[in-house]
């Protein structure tokens, strides 16, 4: 459980999240990709707090802020997905074509 190992694990989770956020057509799957990105970031932040910053309290605060961001993003994301569906009957990104050149 070294710094490098946890960095690599967090980077892997983040990379899978990037793949998901960019490649998925469905809104909810895109949100899952975003959640994974934040998951990786939180793991990295917790590792930095534990192993690099020597347990300073502000490190834990960063993790708490990331959790708040995750919650807010999930809530508003789902609200927007529902709103978009109601107005445009679109559940995948391919359906939103009004601005397409």
């Amino acid at each position: 459980m070294s710094q490098q190992a946890i960095f690599v694990v967090a980077a892997a989770i983040f990379g899978i999240g990037v793949y998901g956020a960019l490649s998925q057509q469905s809104f909810v799957m895109i949100m899952m990709g975003l959640e994974l990105m934040l998951n990786g970031a939180m793991l990295a932040a917790a590792m930095v707090w534990a192993m690099i910053a020597g347990g300073t309290p502000k490190g834990q605060l960063l993790v708490v802020v990331l959790m708040t961001v995750m919650a807010v993003e999930a809530a508003l994301g789902f609200a927007l997905v529902t709103g978009i569906y109601r107005v445009r009957k679109a559940d995948i990104t391919e359906k939103l074509k009004k601005l397409k050149g």
């Binding site: 998901g20 809104f27 807010v72």
Partner: protein
């Protein structure tokens, strides 16, 4: 030794379940694979002596992933995975971006020299977090609370039945759609957007959905 074995088990579990999220056909299973990934990360955080944060992460994600499963069932046309379907676009570019970001971040982690200053073994992480949240970083804490409150109110406002333009069952729609029942009657609320009356028939409802999907390989 035991610590390392447990850590690698959890790490492999977290990464494997993150990968399975985007490979599984059943949507409810995708949401719960994500939950497993979060549980793995939560346990790693507990092993890193951030006990409270790890457990709170698991608590939050339990509820959040159930909600995600509910939304999956609402919005996906194949929630149980009974017909295999992969719905991706720009797959190669996304994979390149994923691998690229993984490579970049791992390079930073592996080749940069960070100071090594470990948490003192007798530290009271939870007590320190509490003192920090309600002491020096009270402003951050309160801002987070107000942000969450605003997000809650905003989310409810966005999707409530009593919508922004009036009740949904009384013909409240956004300006460019004609309410079904009152087609010629009320002109609808006056909104300052320019898209009000110039829009022709909405091109949304009648599309045939399966033709739009990029069918991947049969999996």
């Amino acid at each position: 030794m035991i610590v390392d074995v447990v850590f690698w088990f959890l790490a492999v579990l977290a990464v494997f379940s993150a990968w399975r999220v985007f490979r599984t056909d059943s949507m409810v299973r995708a949401a719960y694979w994500l939950l497993i990934s979060f549980v793995g990360v939560g346990f790693i955080m507990v092993m890193l002596k951030a006990e409270f944060l790890g457990v709170i992460l698991i608590l939050m994600m339990g509820g959040e992933m159930t909600i995600m499963a509910v939304f999956m069932v609402m919005f996906m046309m194949n929630p149980a995975g009974l017909n295999p379907m992969i719905m991706v676009h720009q797959n190669r570019a996304a994979m390149a971006a994923g691998f690229g970001s993984f490579g970049l971040l791992s390079a930073v982690g592996l080749f940069a020299r960070f100071p090594a200053s470990v948490v003192p073994p007798r530290a009271q992480a939870t007590a320190e977090l509490g003192t920090e949240l309600l002491g020096d970083s009270m402003l951050v804490f309160q801002t987070a609370g107000v942000t969450l409150l605003a997000a809650m109110i905003g989310a409810v406002a966005l999707v409530s039945v009593r919508g922004r333009f009036g009740r949904a069952d009384e013909g409240s729609d956004a300006p460019e759609q004609q309410p079904a029942a009152a087609a010629a009657a009320a002109p609808g609320p006056t909104v300052s957007d320019a898209t009000a009356a110039a829009e022709p028939a909405p091109d949304v409802a009648g599309e045939d959905m399966p033709a739009d999907h990029a069918h991947g390989d049969a999996r």
